[in-house]
Amino acid sequence: MSIKANVPISLEEAKQLVTYLEQGDSASANALLEAASMKESIELFAEVGKLTRQLHDALNSFQLDERIVDLANDDIPDAQSRLTYVIEETEKAANTTMDAVEASMPIAEGLTEQIDTIMPEWKKLMTRQIELGEFKVLCNELDTFLSDASQKSNKLTSLLTEVLMAQGYQDLTGQVIRRVIDLVKEVEDSLVNMLTMFGEPGEIANTPKQSRKQTDKVEAEGPIIDADQRDDVVKGQDDVDDLLSSLGF
């Protein structure tokens, strides 16, 4: 609305009004005032009408956006199970790592103990101060130690490999968290979209509708968090091997 329009009556109309009042023509003065206020009301009505129509459109588009329904019904609960999966996987990895460390410690300590037992006699041998009896004991101790040590270092290697493999959780949970981040971004966009719809009605038509989830069967999906409830996925390496061998692999 321009500033001019905000003035209820024009200068000419005001002068006319003064003239009517001076002449004592109150009927004409009333008529003039009514006409002036009517002009205002018509503009107001037009504005209310426009707003009503925009609100109606906005509500309609809001209901039509199925993606929001999907988000609330499927994607948010799905995100919850994904995050639960992350907690479980990180917990499993932490426990595997700590189990391996706890199993490694006594092995390393045992090796140190054996070395400490052998060391005094070994020193004697090196300084040529060993007696024949002691030498025989040392030989036996060394024999036991060497076979023990090789066994124990093999055990340590396999425990360290377990620790290494447990770190795979970072990849698996990372892929799952990325999907949750994408979802959060989409919810954010939907909320912004909603605010835009109610704020600036002109924008509605320009906002592209979110496309439905891709249903491509070979589309990457990341780690399967609910393998038990699905029959389109393998449950582990054995299933993969069976499937591939059924294909002639």
Binding site: T161, L164, M165, Q167, G168, Y169, Q170, D171, L172, G174, Q175, K217, V218, A220, E221, G222, P223, I224, A227, D232, V233, V234, G236, Q237, V240, L243, L244, L247, F249
Partner: protein
């Protein structure tokens, strides 16, 4: 198995690349390079004389399945053995990978023994 063969490990997660690299080192391989997706891997393969590829499936940029298809459709690379190590576990995906000419498929999480077994199987078959 020729222990000095040149291997490319393709995965977007550096932790997983490290794990696979370490496992391969345990098995005696030391000539290993890394790439973080198909787009990085393909030019490396085209330029370098790689003997073996271990690739993830789900990566930003070029995915593992597309890298596999690109390798199979490249006259120079088409015989290159490819082992897929991925969390993708849908049957359709495994079938698609097989059809695209994958040499082995390992699902994550996997064990050191599984990786070793699949590698040996691939090289045994290649002779």
């Amino acid at each position: 198995m020729n222990k000095s063969m040149k291997i490319l490990v393709v995965d977007d997660f550096s932790t997983m690349r490290r794990i696979i690299k370490n496992l391969l080192k345990d098995l005696g391989f030391s000539n290993i390079q890394e790439a973080d997706d198909g787009n990085t891997a393909l030019p490396m393969l085209q330029q370098g004389d790689f003997d073996f590829v271990v690739t993830d499936w789900n990566m930003p940029g070029m995915q593992g399945i597309d890298l596999l298809r690109a390798i199979r459709s490249d006259a120079k690379l088409k015989h290159l053995p490819v082992l897929m190590v991925t969390a993708e576990a849908k049957k359709e995906q495994i079938v698609a990978a097989a059809q695209a000419g994958v040499n082995g498929y390992v699902v994550k999480p996997f064990t050191a023994a599984t990786l070793k077994e699949k590698l040996e199987k691939i090289f045994e078959r290649l002779g």
